[in-house]
């Protein structure tokens, strides 16, 4: 299986299409960094406009952690679409090229073949997120320096000390990885049914867009079903940037406000991955390869 995974990873990174996502992310991150570098104070004034009269926030507000937080909020909506470009192509792309029939005639079980493809697409997702970490977090830390992080929510502003942020980013990136692999598994599942990659890519994107809209709508009809949408749980990474509070309302550094909820979201995403990959294997094992 290790050999097959290496082959699949090799094939992914030999395709020019693979690098579209890396270039797109680099372009978006660079633009955000440039905008905040040139005109960041205005953005901060806007974000803190409701509280500036009440209290003064000191220190270096526009720092690497803050910039990365903005980048993650922006990118983690769009990166799933980039993940779908590759994951939805894993089987359907092979069918379209005509190479799927050659792969299936090799002395490897279909389950092994499919799992190696899924793991390879997950390696790509990890590489993509590492790329975001390198240019979004580390490069921002290099350009803007580090200080405490302001997490401005609609109903409160959370201030995190500089020495209490980095580990949260590590956890957030790990969670985001899980979320993106969930998207990848969905694209992979759709990929089993098609003989060109366009259909599965569009289908994956459509599901993400529709579910995201439904997840964010505050309509009672959808409230009960929202918890089952994986898109609802994909933003669980934000939970790492909230702290527990004392009875007096003081934040407790080094804590996560609702860890069970974050873990539950991770569990739901993991269940989705297992379901999509399991279903893909069941379908693929019975599939007549006619391409």
């Amino acid at each position: 299986m290790w050999k097959l995974i290496k082959i699949e990873v090799f094939k992914i990174f030999k395709k020019p299409r693979t690098y579209i996502a890396f270039i797109a992310i680099w372009a978006i991150v660079s633009l955000i960094q440039l905008a905040l570098y040139v005109d960041g104070q205005k953005y901060i004034d806007f974000v803190l406009s409701g509280v500036n009269d009440t209290f003064k926030v000191g220190g270096k507000i526009i720092n690497g952690y803050f910039v990365c937080f903005i980048i993650l909020q922006t990118l983690l909506i769009h990166v799933p679409l980039l993940v779908a470009l590759v994951s939805a192509d894993m089987v359907a792309g092979e069918a379209n090229m005509g190479t799927l029939r050659l792969l299936v005639t090799k002395p490897q079980s279909r389950t092994t073949l499919l799992l190696s493809k899924f793991i390879a697409s997950s390696v790509y997702t990890i590489a993509l997120l590492l790329w975001i970490a390198v240019i979004g977090l580390f490069l921002s830390m290099f350009i803007f320096g580090t200080d405490g992080l302001i997490n401005a929510k609609s109903d409160q502003i959370i201030l995190l000390n500089a020495n209490d942020v980095f580990w949260r980013y590590l956890c957030a990136f790990a969670f985001a990885e899980l979320a993106l692999i969930t998207v990848g598994s969905l694209g992979f599942f759709f990929s089993i049914f098609a003989e060109n990659s366009l259909g599965p890519i569009v289908a994956t994107m459509s599901v993400i867009i529709v579910f995201t809209i439904l997840s964010t709508l505050e309509i009672p009809l959808f409230e009960s079903v929202k918890q089952y949408f994986f898109t609802t749980h994909m933003i669980g990474w934000k939970g790492f940037f909230e702290m527990k509070q004392t009875a007096e309302g003081d934040s407790i550094p080094g804590t996560i406000r609702n860890l069970p909820a974050v873990l539950r979201s991770a569990g739901v995403l993991l269940a989705h991955i297992v379901f999509f990959v399991g279903a893909s294997i069941v379908v693929f094992k019975r599939k007549d390869v006619l391409s």
Partner: protein
Amino acid sequence: MLSSSPFRGRRGFTPYLCPAVIIQHNMNSIIKVSHLSKQFKELKAVDALSFSVNEVDVYGFLGQNGAGKSTTIRMLLTLIAPTDGTIELFGYNLLSHRKEILQQVGAVIERPDLYKYLTGLENLSIFAKMSGIKLSKQQLMEQLELVGLAQRASSKVRTYSQGMKQRLGLAVALVHDPKLILLDEPTNGLDPQGIADMRNLILMLSRERKKTILVSSHLLSEIEQIANRMLIIDRGKKLVEGSVDELFHPDETIVLLETTDKIRTEAIIRQSNYSNALINVDASGIELKMSKEQVPAFTRFLIEQQVEVTGINARHTLEDYFLKITTANQHVEAYKN
């Protein structure tokens, strides 16, 4: 699991050196297909097909487009699951010993589609690894040399011509030194030189490397030139199977006779011992069916009867038979539709 399996202990073999394990196990029949059927919704693509391919056979699999050749080959490669029937390869049930059997099988299925964004060498290396063997670059280059692609080993496959892709597809099929090679319409899309090269390569693999080869085609002449045994199928059913020598040199021959006076000639034939041989009279001439040995005597008889012959043409009944098949109403387009 396979205590007496011929596939055991075959790791790391040197290409071109057949371990001949199968021969030692006294398995004359490499492919044995029994009552194989495949139903695609309304279409029965393969219908109770039975045949066997012996060791070192070049077995021609003949039929018009949509006859069920590709479906059968795909079932032999586990790409498609049979609706009914059994397949034994090397004496073992294909479905229960899939992995071990496929280590001994190489195939080119219809178009030779490979990774266009990779080089020929990279393609070959990938499929060698997937077949469970690790070859050095030199060994891979030797394989490419065999199919005449060594000079283009580092070129991306997207720059290859159709013939080069076909040859690379064959190199991929051969890279793990399989005992059995399945070729589905290997000359499709090739120019005359490419067809001749492919034919020579198939013959070389059979004669020099002792490979068992099943090759499908819709062209009778192609099969005639390379196969020693053959099967003709139509609409998924077996029509005829046997040695090419027997089928191409049958006892009976169709004689098409053209004369200056067709009516008189017909009358002479009807009054002679050849009356039973007469099968048809139409604008193209007079058709008779007789053994090959009878033809010289028949021509002498015509001369004695002072029949002015303007043309005489003897064709094999198999050719006639196949022509009937190929010109029949077009079979409902296969499963792809």
